[in-house]
Symmetry: C2
Subunit: 429 residues, 2 copies
């Protein structure tokens, strides 16, 4: 089938009529679906119920002489640090195990940079005239929101299938006001791209003008394949050390999408020098994080190998949902010149690049059908997609039947929005 | 027995000889005791082991339609908010349930004041020329450390048996640079004083010049009697609202000394307006706190009444330890004019006011006997007790036999330090 651009207005109007009929049929369904956030489904949560009974007796709360129930061990239980070192491929001494959210660790790191300065800061960031932060986009709205909330200037860096545009990154970091960059190196949010070997090398070898420049390396989907075998990743902390800037890197991960999103454990991994400095800062904020939950997780997840076995089970639930989403996109939108997307092997999202100027309208039409998406623009700094094109689909939460209806609503809406653009009209719906 | 001040040098030297003999006997014991921090004992932790099995099935994780395992409910599970409202005597809508540490909530509140400003701040505190904070002393070192870490000027306000010196507080808050005050209103850390009705009224009726002045009302020991019946306390949030400054008050509490110190839940309670503002700030920092642990606590603790029953059990372990400490202080130190102290009914500490200029030396001697205390001065801003007098005793952790030895070491050391002072010499020990 030829692209919309090659069709006559008459052909486009005929196409529109068919789509409007489908739209009205869908409206009869009175849908109420939400595929806006990357929430695991109840079936995934049910997979890990054994974690609720892995610590049931007081004697089990004591590990190598340390009572996980009492105060202490600010950096985390040694066994929890060892667990994360195994998963991330770094050293236990390079890890700090936090509470239930890696997002909080990221926020707190930026907040301490702002109020106190980081390890190599000449002064706290709040004393700088201007702070800029690089935001590869489309990206994760909650990342951008953190740096926006501190009043930093957010600079958009385009994403490519190999990762952020590194020519641009290398150029921008020559500005000493640029203090950091947000990264999701594996199965990026939202496109599902994995940074290429070259991109990772160029990150490790960055020579930013700011001595306290931070790479916020959010390895949120480090073991989150939903298709195919586990894809190993390199130890970015070692790479940065080899390149001579060990304190530039902060890696983050959590069990939010391994066990429970609200009740997991998180990690910050960085150079030992940074860990020592961080412990001084965080020592004013808390006595220790929840070590009972750390121990629960170590007993349950055991190690990387065992965690990967659990992730295989997650993939049996996640895989078919993504397969369905991608199949519908192919079936409905291929070769029309109105949308393209990447087929990811892991992560939590599919990102559709709709025809410029049609993303908002597409989601507006979806909303009329009762289907809620992440707001258009959310994946860009300040919530503004200059092309009005990117739409993030989060297939994980709804059951597959509902997902199919949501995707039909999406494809019909996207095509109608594209037809409006081509015809220069607005359908009265 | 007459006080040391009324004795002749000869009598003092005879007293010293006896004490030096006891000191040397104690030294033979090769003690290694730590009564420096208010850590619950293993016996107390063992009291609450049933909390480990209160949630063992996935179906139990769902409460009133909300799945505690998944993202959401930023302000905390409604049942957890209701629990804290019951304990504190405020409204559920005035509560925010956090993670495992109320200290983190306090730190984060101050940190947000610094970086973003609080609800009624004209500007973020980091943009002010100078910030001052009131520190009733002796007080809690971790409180003071938070405000010190942000570079605020700490102003010492003397404590009295009725609470902070309110004449002084009312005077100091006329300075708009004074942005807040640290309070432990019930069983204060370290003296165990409970603020009088008048003190509480005067707090509620404070009219600080700074529109964003905060009372940091750390109700850490709100249900922590170890002797006698539960002592009710008034709802400070309602009192501040009645007095016309509803946004001035932030109350904190946690289950750290009810269930597990490392793995409990915490609460911030304040006006609804403040809660709404706080949710906007904290929404950038996290998606939600650990609701599985919140639910575990609600199922286990149930309500205030049931919590008080548990606290009775804690008191059967804590009570005898405090009784022993107070008995030894009475037996060894009464009527010598070298120390005085308050007999608290709850909390975690006994605070001994030694003869001015002898606290450091007392603890130095204790250290020689292998007994570690909270460093002298720690209960004052910047860790400096201008009188070198206050010593905090934390009897909760060691078994009672060890505690008895530690207290003997303490009393002997304190008396030797006083004798040195009176005689103007240093014993060669």
């Amino acid at each position: 089938m030829a692209g919309y651009a090659n069709k006559t207005p008459e052909e486009l109007r005929m196409e529109a009529e068919k789509l409007l009929a489908r739209f009205n049929n869908l409206r009869q369904e009175n849908l109420k679906l939400d595929i806006s956030r990357g929430k695991p489904s109840a079936a995934q949560l049910d997979l890990v119920s054994d974690i609720l009974t892995v610590l049931t007796d007081k004697s089990e709360c004591i590990v190598n002489g340390t009572d996980s129930r009492n105060y202490g061990e600010l950096a985390g239980l040694p066994c929890a640090r060892a667990y994360w070192a195994d998963v991330l491929g770094c050293k236990p001494s390079q890890t700090f195990v936090g509470g239930n959210a890696s997002l909080t660790l990221m926020y707190d790191l930026i907040a301490r940079g702002y109020s106190h300065g980081l390890k190599d800061s000449p002064r706290p960031w709040c004393k700088e005239e201007k702070i800029k932060f690089l935001c590869p986009s489309p990206g994760y709205d909650r990342h951008f929101r953190i740096t926006e909330s501190f009043g930093f200037e957010l600079i958009t860096v385009p994403m490519t299938p190999d990762g952020p545009d590194m020519d641009m990154v290398e150029e921008l970091v020559k500005d000493a006001a640029v203090k950091g960059i947000w990264c999701v190196p594996k199965f990026s949010n939202p496109q599902g791209y994995t940074y290429s070997e070259e991109t990772v090398d160029r990150f490790a070898n960055l020579k930013p003008a700011a001595p306290d420049f931070v790479i916020m390396w959010d390895n949120a989907y480090c073991v989150h394949e939903f298709e195919g075998e586990f894809q190993p990743f390199r130890d970015i902390i070692a790479l940065c050390a080899e390149a001579g800037r060990p304190n530039m890197i902060y890696e983050f991960a959590s069990t939010s999408k391994i066990t429970y999103p609200g009740a997991g454990i998180s990690v910050l991994a960085t150079s030992e020098e940074n860990i020592a400095y961080w412990l001084k800062l965080v020592g004013a904020q808390t006595i220790s994080y929840d070590k009972v939950n750390q121990l629960r997780h170590v007993r349950y997840l055991q190690n990387k190998e065992h965690t990967l076995q659990l992730m295989k089970k997650h993939s049996t639930i996640m895989g078919p949902k993504f397969e369905m989403v991608l199949k519908m996109l192919r079936g409905e939108l291929t070769n029309k010149g109105i949308a393209h997307w990447h087929h990811p092997q892991g992560g939590y999202f599919v990102c559709v690049a709709a025809m410029p100027g049609t993303a908002k309208r597409t989601l507006e039409l979806c909303q009329k059908l009762g289907v809620t998406f992440t707001p258009a623009g959310a994946t860009y700094p300040y919530g503004v997609d200059p092309q009005d094109s990117m739409i993030r689909i989060a297939p994980s939460l709804p059951p597959i039947k509902e997902l199919q209806l949501a995707m039909e609503a999406f494809c019909v809406s996207l095509k109608l929005a594209a037809l409006e653009k081509h015809l220069g009209i607005s359908f009265d719906i």
